[in-house]
């Protein structure tokens, strides 16, 4: 049968954000897939170098609209590592609590999007309705629904009241009941099973080879979670399990996310019941001494890494962000091979992609006013050449 190459995207009804997939098909089956990223580059990393640390807290939150809190946590953590300060325990608990709220709202959002992609819009309506409860909590506790401005270097900015604790406990009861209902739906409903079982299979060996992260990795039966393997904030003290699935497909991801929701609810309850008393933040200087640090967090979508280098002023010299989608987009290109064209939206949605987080490498030539995207080989030669020239930087 003749091979046909179809471009999907950058603008395509099936994709929520601009990204191009070149798929080669034989009939209905995909034989080759290639991903071209970089359509939504925003120049954020350059912007970080021109703002102070205090201002950057609020800008790092804008890297991603859904996992905004984990990015600001990462940035604050990296700065705290360089400064050598440790936030008070109450501050760490509140930071962790917000991280878990964010995971609940992100996983519910994914559940809705996955439902929508498989033509099951009832699930979208219901799960997004439940997500509203968490967003209302966010609005009350942090002051905004998505970009919370709750973190600061050395702790958090707002304390939590007893009335809010009661409200959280009440909401968690509802969430637990709803999550159990979703797990039943995910395991039994034929619409979901028919669309997700056996779709987008990523074997354990491939997941490790392609450096998958987050629920995609855990759905490929690899027990890895930054919260457990390299605990940050208050995660070292919390009781929770790392959920894995051995079905390796999109259904496995759904089960991992649904069961993680239950773990989140358990953790949130534990945190508000065992909230330590005391201060929520420590005072830190505005200027950060020269140094470098790497901070890792487990975003709802997977492992998120920030690399920060400071130079003694009140502005960072470099902040590099590795968002989880960048790590996961490689395995999407791999999993697409052998799938049907109709499964593309679901496989792409399966990793919970956030293209806006990911797009950051674009080579701009200011003199020639041109821009180009480099291939791996070109980038390798470029980097060797660059380091040869700048050996004494």
């Amino acid at each position: 049968m003749a091979r046909v190459t179809i471009p999907i995207g950058p603008q395509h009804p099936a994709l929520k954000e601009p990204e191009r997939f070149m798929v080669t098909v034989e009939g209905e089956t995909i034989v080759d897939a290639d991903v071209r990223i970089g359509h939504i580059h925003r120049g954020l990393e350059k912007l970080f170098e021109q703002r102070t640390y205090l201002q950057n807290i609020h800008i790092t939150e804008r890297i991603c609209g859904i996992c905004s809190f984990t990015h600001s946590t990462n940035f604050c953590q990296a700065t705290e590592y360089i400064l050598g300060v440790e936030p008070p325990r109450r501050g760490l608990y509140l930071r962790t609590l917000m991280n878990e709220f964010e995971r609940i709202h992100s996983h519910l959002l994914w559940l809705g999007v996955a439902g929508h992609e498989m033509g099951f819009d009832t699930l979208l309506m219901w799960s997004w309705d439940d997500r509203e409860r968490i967003l209302d909590l966010f609005e009350d506790i942090t002051g905004n629904r998505v970009t919370h401005a709750f973190n600061t270097i050395g702790g958090v900015r707002r304390d939590i009241t007893d009335a809010q604790i009661q409200r959280i406990l009440h909401t968690m009861d509802i969430m637990e009941e709803r999550t159990k209902a979703y797990i039943q739906v995910g395991l039994n409903e034929q619409t979901i099973l028919k669309r997700t079982q056996g779709v987008g299979i990523l074997t354990t060996a491939d997941a490790k080879r392609l450096c998958a992260v987050g629920p995609r990795l855990r759905a490929s039966n690899v027990k890895y979670d930054v919260r457990k393997n390299d605990p940050y904030a208050a995660y070292g003290e919390l009781p929770f399990e790392v959920i894995t699935s051995d079905t390796l497909d999109v259904h496995g991801q759904l089960v991992v996310r649904a069961l993680e929701l239950l773990e989140c609810v358990k953790m949130c309850r534990y945190m508000v019941q065992n909230l330590p008393a005391g201060e929520i933040r420590v005072k830190v200087p505005r200027k950060v001494p020269p140094g470098e640090a790497i901070s890792r967090t487990e975003a709802p979508r997977g492992e998120d890494i920030h690399y920060l280098r400071s130079n003694g002023t009140d502005k960072p010299e470099r902040l590099k962000v590795r968002a989880p989608t960048l790590a996961n987009i490689l395995n999407v290109a791999h999993t697409l091979k052998g799938a049907n064209i109709a499964d593309i939206p679901l496989i792409v949605a399966g990793i919970d992609p956030c293209m806006g987080c990911m797009d950051r490498v674009l080579i701009l030539d200011r003199d020639k006013e041109s821009c180009k995207v480099m291939s791996a080989e070109q980038l390798r030669e470029y980097s060797i050449e660059w380091y040869r020239k700048e050996a004494y930087r």
Binding site: T142, G143, N144, R157, N188, E189
Partner: protein, 113 residues
């Protein structure tokens, strides 16, 4: 054996529920008490230190001279409501309110003085 019709109970429950959406703007929808909306500025407390303008991430807060006194002016079209100015102010001259209805026509910028 997979059980069909697992959602039937929920479907009937939802049928008898009233809609979760509200009839905004016919019906007002107040923000949560902790919400950060449009700020209030108390000029008599201000000591013209300029910390708010220095820390503003989006340059929405700028120092301007009005009636012989240097003081911040807030351009709400640029503001992202992070409340960093409120936190940086040493005299509590800035306070965030829960007002969020800030839509306006072009050419008529929203400014808090």
């Amino acid at each position: 054996m997979k059980r069909p019709g697992i959602m039937i109970k929920d479907v009937f429950k939802r049928l008898t529920m009233k809609p979760v959406t509200s009839k905004y703007p016919a019906e007002k929808s107040p923000a949560e008490p902790g919400y950060r909306g449009k700020m209030e500025f108390y000029v008599d407390k201000c000591i013209s230190c300029g910390m708010c303008a220095k820390d503003c991430p989006s340059f929405a807060c700028v120092m301007e001279e009005i009636d012989g006194k240097k003081r911040p002016v807030f351009y709400l079209d640029k503001c992202m409501f992070c409340a960093q100015c409120e936190e940086s102010c040493p005299k509590d001259a800035i306070k965030m309110t829960t007002e969020y209805e800030l839509a306006h026509l072009a050419g008529n910028p929203q400014i808090v003085k």
